[in-house]
Symmetry: C2
Subunit: 513 residues, 2 copies
């Protein structure tokens, strides 16, 4: 057994079953080990940002972490933006990077770089294996550090000689500590806030947005009359007609402040205290008004569900709460506005689907319109680094082969990691990509207007427009083996979306907005 | 004047005239300043790796550095791989990153990250502006640090409030120190090596590969009989029938050792001492045999041309040396092998063209075959981070609008930054992209064989093949506004390449190999 085989064997023993990879020369022993040690499915991507985004999507939908296998500092660098998003999603990932042989490193060959400096900003755990005999132990430690959800990116750099030199054996799995429970004081503080009256918000995030968290939250709301709201960009939210309606805190701070204006207090469970996505002159960073009474029930890394259940009991909530039914939207006609698109999706999303929303401005207005959809899982762009949507959908589809995945995608962000379509075709993944082709970085046009730039100059206009030339997404998809169609109204969208959902494998609908 | 305007004004005063950009919300004041301060051409790319690669190509072909404008840590992260290549090419770049307002940074909003940790591995100079009034001075310092060629990436992070707060004025340009000259001892040591006989190699890199460096090298060779050779991946090499033939040191170490075996000594000018691209078991890291007598004439950061001229004088070389004519290749017929493709290119490359070669395995064999082409500039993938070719061609075309640019590109690397095609169409750049569609990471297949894996397993086979599904590059190009054709033999390649070179604007030829 060499170091590479000890890594793959250990990963397998620790429950890793998928590897999103774009290896190079320094990872060849690991590639060979994937063949000699059967059991890990390798998914090739044509760009590393697809690997990291897919690992994120996989982690949100699967109990065990996926592995990524990337090529030295520059290969890893290409994965950083989506690892940034994965970190913000608290996704667990075993990130493996090959490096030069230890004895070659000092010669500053062209691909040499400071991998640790690149990896640390996104990695909750980092180590470089010092020798082949350390690799198995380091791998087990990395997987334990990655954890489950909420987890972290554990990055292990493995020099080439630590892969090909002899090793002893695999290392047995190391224990993953269970989530810390919250204190009784945290529960009673939260209960006291909710006892003050009906002007409280129960602000949910993280595990609080899974089915059992929402069930407890609905019980609390039924008893106390508190208003449920969730973080703007949830890593994973169970949604649709079997769940309470939980609006997201709006993205722009003015709207967020307005949404919170009717209230006087907040209990926070599974999310950080909400702050503005960006700082703006004359607007606060913290979106919770100073006058609010605030209680932190559970940090995202604590056992949020148990905390919500304890709070439900503490306020004397009923054992179960009925969910107010939200009417399923009917299919609108006419132009492809955000709300209309949301209604079409809301009418047609199949039960148990997974909807990855990186639809940016279109997604904001589509969200409310699709609230009454059949029960489904909703994934958002967590870290603001665009280009997460298509890869994250890829990973979710690998994690859940029996569920239909919908990649609801803005054109600007979609172009960042468009290579994901090729992996979808290669793996035959059941993903319908729905592209919002509005030929603009619309959110930047909004930001220019918000900054008081009423008539942007030619540079500002040009830098926010994608219409010269127009991108043809069906051509791009065809070029990577994914069939696609273009639609420009709701009727056509509904027809093509219904058809696409029935087809196996990937397909794409380009919405001309 | 605000901080953003002081930055743009200073950059303009320091000679910056192009900005490769993908800005976001935190860069809006800089975008507005580009409109109020006319004179910098903004080139939008749909992915940051295109911006950094374009800045690299621009720097190799232009006296003043280009600016890049990117969005916080994740936006910058997407640029790192091509900045890694740019660093290895010693390209000068003013890299500007917007960041959260200083007072917002501590709230850990979703896009917050450790930008310095990400930037330092590729930046020869790094600073974050502390306030608007510091921005102009910081910008001038960054541009001076970036220098010209050989230069560095100077990265300046500018928080949003340092952009919108009031500033005083632009800062005047700071002096760029001239290149250090080499010592007389370095020249006489090199002359002594060359005086030992005709078994010496003059190993050239950096500025030694520009026209005046090669002229001096040809003089030295004419007098001493030394053999000229250059670094494997030159940032810029003047080539063709008016230049001496300078073979590259082969990529694989066995071949490099074989290429050096007939010699006993080496003078190195403008390059580091050559080392293997990767470390392999039982092969040395340093490719120059221990028995060689070695003299370092000039470091890449020294005045290499003056050193070569001094050496020419020291050995008593003639004032000018005639260049042995290399026959221009004729157009072959039949299948698209690397050598055949090189001959087609060599026969048809127009005078004064720029050839960006990221053709990987195909490029290795094409290089020799195209030696007798009309005079042209050759650019190589310097840092081994694939995905440099298309963007670097974009930047070279922006720098040299009157020259035809040929992007000779492997399919694997091409997919990394395929978004460059859209920028080429948008800007109407005269770039003919010639794609080697061999449906494989061929170099990894070679590496597997070299590692003794004669029959790769299914994972190893799968991870090195791009044939499921096959990529259709003409579809991809069309989707981004670039016309393309497919060819599968030399006659068709010659016909379509001739035609493409006559058309203005970008086009693409997909070679099915």
């Amino acid at each position: 057994m060499n170091g590479a085989e000890s890594l793959i064997r250990t990963a397998l023993d620790c429950g890793v079953s998928v590897c999103f990879a774009n290896p190079g020369t320094t990872e060849m022993p690991l590639v060979a080990a994937l063949d000699t040690t059967e059991g890990i499915r390798c998914v090739l991507a044509l760009f590393e940002g697809v690997c990291s985004g897919a690992a994120d999507g996989y982690a949100r939908m699967h109990e065990s972490p996926a592995m990524t296998l990337l090529h030295l500092g520059p290969g890893f660098a290409n994965s950083i933006a989506n690892f940034h998003n994965a970190r913000r999603a608290r996704s667990a990932v075993l990130s493996v990077i090959g490096d030069h042989a230890t004895w070659h490193h000092g010669y500053d060959a062209p691909l040499t770089s400071d991998i640790a400096s690149l990896a640390r900003p996104v990695s909750g755990w980092y180590r470089s294996s010092s020798s082949a005999r350390m690799v198995a132990r380091d791998t087990a430690a990395a997987i334990a550090a990655a954890g489950r959800y909420p987890g972290r990116i554990a990055t292990l750099t493995v020099p080439a000689d630590a892969q090909w030199d002899p090793a002893d054996s695999a290392h047995s799995p190391m224990p993953i500590p269970s989530l810390p429970t919250v204190s009784g004081a945290a529960v009673s503080n939260a209960a006291a806030i909710l006892g003050r009256g009906a002007k409280a918000v129960l602000f949910l995030g993280g595990l609080g947005l899974r089915a059992n968290g929402l069930r407890a939250a609905a019980r609390i709301a039924a008893k106390t009359g508190c208003f449920l709201m969730c973080e703007t960009f949830p890593a994973r939210l169970e949604r649709g007609s079997d769940q309470p309606f939980v609006p997201r805190l709006p993205y722009f701070p003015e709207q967020a402040l307005e949404a919170l204006a009717p209230f006087d207090s907040m209990v926070i469970a599974g999310a950080p205290k909400p702050v503005a996505f960006f700082g703006y002159p004359n607007l606060p960073s913290v979106l919770v008004p100073d006058a609010f009474a605030v209680a932190g029930l559970a940090e995202p890394e604590q056992d949020v569900v148990a905390a919500l259940e304890a709070l439900a009991d503490a306020v004397g909530a009923p054992k179960s709460a009925s969910i107010a039914a939200i009417e399923q939207p009917s299919i609108p006609t006419g132009s492809l506005t955000g709300a209309n698109i949301g209604a079409v999706l809301g009418a047609l999303i199949p039960e148990n689907a997974i909807l990855m929303d990186e639809a940016a401005t279109t997604g904001f207005s589509a969200f409310g319109a699709s609230a009454g959809a059949r029960p489904h899982t909703y994934l958002a762009l967590t870290g603001g680094a665009i280009g997460q949507g298509l890869p994250c959908a890829t990973g979710a589809a690998v994690a859940c082969p029996d569920r239909k995945v919908i990649a609801f995608q803005a054109d600007g962000g979609g172009m960042y990691t468009v290579q994901a379509l090729w992996t979808n075709a290669r793996e035959g993944l059941n993903i319908t990509s729905v592209i919002c082709n509005n030929r603009a970085y619309r959110i930047l046009q909004v930001e220019l207007a918000r900054a008081g730039i009423k008539e942007p100059g030619p540079m500002a206009r040009s830098l926010t427009r994608l219409d010269n030339p127009e991108i043809n997404w069906t051509d791009l998809a065809r070029g990577m083996g994914v069939p696609g169609v273009r639609v420009d109204n709701c009727e056509a969208l509904a027809r093509e979306f219904s058809k696409a959902l029935k087809e196996p494998g990937p397909n794409l609908i380009e919405m001309l907005m």
